[in-house]
């Protein structure tokens, strides 16, 4: 039985991942902002077979609460086999171009809070000398595009931080995974028109569990996004700047 910590547990991908661990009979510790939904998820995971499910309400942008909640999770869990960081928002790019404060807040939610949590978790997991830290970033972090570069910049910052952290923690036997989903059909993307490239949170969740079991480093989910992003990254900037992506 593994001990799984999930931050942003009410996100569709995190919830689908939690269901897979619950079905395996693992212990779960969930943090999320929406307390009502969190409680509902806790009951659900118990019925699905989790050995135990604990939860704590947390707004990741509240620095004091963040530090306290992570410390409490570490203490109550004793040992963390898997820490999954899944919280995030999809910023409104156009509004972020108008309002500096909003842009900063989105960076806080999607990057700074994640890096803070990672710092706290890394120090603890470094000592326990095993486990996996998995973070959901995004293919959007691979290259800045006019349609969502605030989101992209935040996710890109997370990805680079993870590279460094992976490099640091490998000696301690802790694996760090950067999970880069493409388009996923979740409440966060409810307003988008869905096409062939869209995936369901359940298939992304299975990909996450597989990557954790395999000890992967950087995973694109579904797999074909690795190649789509390879092409997008290889377009020379003097051409790329003229594209409307």
């Amino acid at each position: 039985m593994q001990k799984i910590l999930i931050i942003g547990a009410t996100s569709a991908i995190a919830e689908a991942t939690a269901k897979l661990y619950a079905a395996q009979g693992d212990h779960l510790y969930l943090l999320a902002r929406d307390e009502n939904r969190l409680k509902s998820i806790v009951d659900d995971l118990k019925v699905r077979g989790a050995a135990s499910v604990k939860s704590q309400q947390l707004d990741v942008n509240d620095q004091t609460a963040r530090t306290k909640s992570i410390a409490q999770a570490i203490e109550l869990m004793g040992n963390i086999d898997v820490a999954l960081i899944a919280h995030g928002t999809l910023p409104n790019q156009e509004l972020c171009q108008q309002e500096v404060e909003l842009m900063q807040k989105e960076l806080e939610t999607n990057a700074i809070s994640t890096l803070s949590i990672l710092t706290l978790l890394a120090n603890s997991m470094e000592k326990q000398k095993q486990g996996t830290i998995a973070v959901i970033s995004s293919v959007a972090g691979d290259r800045g595009r006019q349609s969502n570069y605030v989101y992209g910049a935040a996710k890109g910052m997370v990805s680079i931080f993870l590279q460094g952290l992976r490099n640091r923690l490998v000696k301690s036997g802790v694996n760090v995974i950067d999970i880069k989903p493409g388009f996923v059909d979740t409440p966060m993307t409810a307003d988008f028109k869905k096409g062939l490239l869209w995936a369901q949170p359940e298939s992304i969740a299975q990909g996450i569990v597989n990557a954790i079991n395999k000890g992967s480093e950087v995973v694109y989910l579904p797999w074909f996004w690795r190649y789509i992003m390879l092409i997008i990254k290889s377009i020379p900037e003097f051409i790329f700047k003229k594209l409307s992506l």
Partner: protein, 432 residues
């Protein structure tokens, strides 16, 4: 956003909101709310369509499960597929299941769905212990056969028009394995098929695939499939990922010639009069769930499923008349499903009544609705009715004649203010 039911007809523009907590759901139902709750949109026509819709798919959690009694409590947005995934490996099965597992519990209640065991076990709502219903007033009430009974019988099969089911409690049934012992009997005509339904009424599951294109002596020839849960064996869930039809199939592919070919093949591929095999529950109950978006084979203009029931006493004669009419039209679907129903229940708009029900797909074409109007008249003449979960075109007159409890249903809706709040494209059409 454009939405439609499973038949891809009609398509309407709708604003969809997806609440993620019951508190958020309640907050949506204010004095000005007018619309309908929607699950997977697997009803075929316009039952789940309205300019404003509430998607229940994020309110999909399990609340509790009693390992001893099999009693489950869950939110209305959970899929039957999800329940099976969790509980079938533990030896539990749905008391009643429709032909697809991709429906929500709320949808199953709203349509009071039936399955292959209707003749013995009734429809889905017959197994409900209770549910919580969000009313137009914003209040939530518990409904069961003892509490708020009139709301219970109006809401079971009430197409979401009385309020929004938030949570339901019902009993799963214990099974000996996830396999079904299946017996297939090949019949030569309708009389033999109906006779065999009567003779096999002790079989837990029975259904017939009927060849609607065959005329003359072979009218109504079928493959009658009986099933029992296998007592010996294991509990497993197939790990196959379903096929997917990624786009609408061009119109010309499906024509009377190809349909005829398929029907011939389907009927004649079974060589023996009696054959039996052991089958997993998934292909047994949900053959089409193995192909995601199978509705796309009917092309962009969509299709309708015509499902009616005729009372037992007029069954053979009525079915014969209707089958002849369909065979003559040459527009029948390649697979049509025939089933003998047991007694109906007290729910005001529930579809099943003791007798025979037939479901056929029709690709939409000019002139189809005229044919269906003629069929409606025959169904009415024989004292039958049409399944609201499949309907996209029945007239108000036909509906009101064949569902005599509609007045009582309307009275209850008015009493709770539901007539102003919960409305679908279908309810407008049917004059509810």
């Amino acid at each position: 956003m454009k939405i439609s039911g499973w038949g891809n007809y009609p398509v309407i523009d709708s604003q969809i909101v997806t609440p993620t907590t019951h508190a958020a759901l309640s907050a949506l139902i204010d004095a000005s709310f007018q619309g309908i709750a929607r699950g997977m949109g697997r009803s075929y026509g316009d039952s789940s369509l309205a300019p404003h819709t509430i998607s229940m798919l994020s309110l999909n959690h399990l609340v509790s499960f009693n390992q001893k009694t099999g009693v489950i409590r869950c939110h209305a947005g959970i899929l039957l597929a999800d329940l099976l995934k969790v509980f079938a490996p533990q030896g539990w099965f749905l008391p009643v299941t429709p032909g697809t597992k991709f429906v929500t519990v709320g949808g199953a209640i709203a349509s009071d769905v039936h399955g292959k065991n209707h003749h013995l076990h009734g429809s889905f709502c017959d197994h409900l212990q209770s549910f919580k219903l969000l009313l137009a007033s914003g209040e939530t009430v518990k409904c069961s056969k003892r509490e708020n009974t009139e709301l219970f019988h109006a809401s079971c099969g009430g197409m979401g028009l009385t309020g929004i089911v938030k949570e339901a409690t019902f009993k799963l049934k214990p099974v000996g394995s996830t396999y079904i012992n299946e017996i297939t009997i090949k019949t030569d005509n309708l009389a033999e098929t109906l006779d065999l339904f009567e003779k096999s009424k002790n079989s837990t599951y029975s259904v017939a695939w009927i060849d609607c294109l065959s005329k003359g002596k072979g009218l109504g020839r079928s493959l009658l499939i009986l099933g029992e849960h296998a007592e010996e064996g294991c509990y497993d869930i197939p790990d196959k990922s379903p096929l997917n039809i990624p786009f609408d199939i061009p119109n010309f592919i499906l024509n009377p010639f190809t349909t005829g070919l398929f029907t011939q093949f389907y009927y004649h591929r079974i060589l023996k009069k009696y054959s039996n095999r052991r089958n997993h529950y998934a292909p047994y109950f949900y053959p089409l769930d193995g192909i995601h978006h199978w509705n796309r084979i009917y092309g962009k203009q969509g299709f309708t499923q015509y499902q009616f029931v005729l009372p037992k006493e007029s069954g053979l004669e009525g079915m014969n008349t209707i089958l002849k009419r369909i065979a003559a039209s040459n527009k029948g679907s390649f697979l049509s499903v025939l089933k003998a129903f047991g007694k109906g229940n007290k729910n005001l708009l529930s579809f099943p009544m003791e007798g025979y029900t037939l479901a056929l797909d029709f690709k939409l074409y000019n002139g189809l609705f005229k044919l269906l109007d003629t069929l409606d008249q025959i169904v009415l003449d024989y004292g039958g009715r049409i399944y609201l979960a499949k309907d996209s075109r029945m007239s108000e007159k036909v509906f009101k004649q064949s569902y005599p409890n509609w007045e009582e249903f309307s009275r209850i809706r008015q009493k709770y203010g539901a007539d102003k709040a919960f409305r679908s494209t279908q309810s407008e059409r049917l004059g509810l």
